[in-house]
Symmetry: C2
C-alpha cells in the first residue's frame, strides 16, 4: 500500500471508531490528519484534504482544542493560524479519559449517589431490586473512577507494566 492510501485508510478508520464512541466523525478525522502530519496545518489545508467546509473546519478545530487534543500555533511573520496535534498517544488517551470522566462519568456518579440515598420499603421487591442495581453500579463506577484517576497521573510504562504483570 502507498503512504497516501494508508493515510486515507487511517483517517477513515479513526473517523469510524470515533463515531462508534460518540465522537463526531469529522472531529476524529481532523484529529487523525493532524496526528500523522509532521507539520502544523492551516484551516485551508485541513478543509482541502478532508473536503469539508470552512465552518465545519473551524468548529471542529475549536472542539478539538476544547478536548485538549490539538493546539494553535503561530508562525513568525505569518497571519495564518496553524494547528498541530500532540503526538504522544499516551497523552491523548489520558486527555480523552480525563474529559470523558469529567463530562460523562462524574454526572452519572452524582445521580447514582442521589439514587443511593432513596429510602423505601425493604419488603418491596421493586425497591430491593432498584436498590441493589444502584448499589452494584455505583461500586463498579467507583472502581472505574479510581482506576482512571490512577491512569491520569501515571506514566505509560508503569501503568501497563503494573497491570500486565498482575494479569500475566
Amino acid at each position: 500500500m502507498e503512504l497516501a492510501a494508508a493515510k486515507l485508510k487511517f483517517i477513515e478508520a479513526w473517523g469510524k471508531l470515533g463515531s462508534e464512541w460518540g465522537i463526531n466523525r469529522t472531529m476524529a478525522q481532523v484529529h487523525a490528519l493532524l496526528l500523522i502530519s509532521p507539520e502544523a496545518l492551516t484551516t485551508e489545508e485541513i478543509m482541502e484534504q478532508l473536503s469539508i467546509s470552512r465552518g465545519n473546519a473551524n468548529m471542529t478545530l475549536r472542539d478539538l482544542i476544547g478536548w485538549g487534543l490539538i493546539e494553535k500555533q503561530h508562525k513568525a511573520g505569518e497571519r495564518k493560524e496553524y494547528f498541530f496535534a500532540d503526538k504522544d498517544v499516551w497523552n491523548i488517551a489520558r486527555q480523552v479519559a480525563k474529559e470523558r470522566k469529567k463530562r460523562e462519568l462524574e454526572p452519572v456518579l452524582k445521580v447514582l449517589n442521589e439514587l443511593s440515598a432513596v429510602k423505601g420499603d425493604e419488603k418491596d421487591p421493586e425497591f430491593k431490586t432498584f436498590q441493589k442495581s444502584i448499589k452494584d453500579i455505583n461500586k463498579l463506577a467507583g472502581n472505574v473512577d479510581k482506576t482512571l484517576e490512577t491512569m491520569l497521573k501515571a506514566d505509560e510504562s508503569w501503568f501497563w507494566g503494573s497491570i500486565l504483570k498482575v494479569f500475566k
Copy 2:
C-alpha cells in the same frame, strides 16, 4: 425522593450515558427498566412504561438480546413473551466489553496491523510521523486488548482487587 421518581431518574441517566457512548438512548432505557424490574416484563409493559411504539420496542429488545444483555422468558400456560435482564452488573460490564471489543476494537486492530506493514522512505518526515503514530496506537490498543481479555475471564473481586492493590 420517591421510588417512582428515582426509577425515572435512573432510566433517564442510563439513557443519556448510553447515547454519549454510541448506544441508542431507547436501548439503554429499556435495559435500565429491565435492570430495576424484579419481574420479567412483556413488550406491552415496556411500550407503556417508556411510551414507545411496538416496532421500536421489538427492535430494541432484539438488539438487547443480540448484545447478550437480556433474555426472553416463557411463562407456563402463557402465550406472551417476557423479557428480563441479567442483574449481575459485572456480567453486564463484561458482556458490553466483549461485544464492543469484537465489533469495534478488533476491526481497528486489523486495520492498524495492515498499516503497520506499509513501507516507505525512512527519510521522509511524512512517512516517519505516520509510522510512529501507527506504532504507538497499535501498542496502546494491544495493551487495552490484553486487559480486556483478562477482564472477560476474571472474577470481579479478583480483577478490581488486583488493580486497586497495585495502584493503591
